[in-house]
Symmetry: C2
Subunit: 152 residues, 2 copies
């Protein structure tokens, strides 16, 4: 479709919605005094739900690049919520492991996270979510098709 004004494009819509949600969620987290950022919550809850992960697995699940994840993990390790354990097999890899304190912290944080989600998404249906997922897959498909085209 044809887009004229820059602030009427789907890209602008999605980015602006994303930022508004982030701002709200971050404010709620800060007011809760839980002392975790959104990304830190993501890391801890993924580790808590699915067990220890290699750093590159975590980057993949969260779709973060390595330098970004490195710094998020640095902060969480400094707060003693997780450890980087050397992998016995491949010594380039680190296994990221939740500590007892990390488990406690994410348990404390979860009710707040659920509260934030229910405020934001109370009236969002699974139909809405499917439409969104479909749009996401189409756009991301366009991105990877473009890369393929350029390779040829």
């Amino acid at each position: 479709m044809e887009i004229n004004k820059i602030d009427e494009s789907p890209g602008y819509l999605i980015e602006s919605l994303s930022r508004n949600m982030r701002r709200f969620s971050a404010q709620q987290l800060r007011e809760s005094k839980i002392d975790l950022t959104l990304e830190q919550v993501s890391v801890l809850s993924i580790l808590d739900e699915r067990g220890s992960k290699f750093q590159n697995e975590l980057a993949d699940i969260m779709s973060k690049d390595n330098p970004t994840l490195t710094r998020i993990l640095d902060l969480l390790e400094k707060k003693s919520y997780l450890k980087r354990e050397l992998s016995s097999g491949d010594r380039r890899k680190f296994l990221i492991v939740l500590t007892k304190e990390g488990e406690k912290k994410i348990a404390q944080a979860m009710p707040i996270i659920k509260q934030i989600r229910s405020t934001l998404f109370e009236d969002v249906s699974s139909n809405d979510l499917n439409q969104l997922l479909n749009l996401k897959e189409r756009i991301e498909g366009n991105i990877s098709n473009h890369s393929k085209d350029v390779d040829n």
Copy 2:
């Protein structure tokens, strides 16, 4: 709706889509050697399309906070693509004005921007866009309703 895994929530979907689009667009901009970031393009094209704006109007249109916009404008002013002119009426305000170089730059950039958009959104219909806009308005409505509730 009930959300279980953190990477299956609408928030994660939107954020991840937003980041993937940004990454692609920024890469395309960089490869074009146009030497502008996404935000810099936004500022220049808004000024070009709608004429000079006060800094707070620009912040509002782009839904950026003041410190963020200050720094984006700093960089653009350093590159001589715009000027901050003292407002004659209200001396707290600056009128942001595109320079000749700025006009040239955004004219050069527009074909690239249009190319990026058509790659990303070729198969996005106005129906998709309306659904997205509707979702955005509901979620943002939830945010502002929450703030109102807390005030009482």
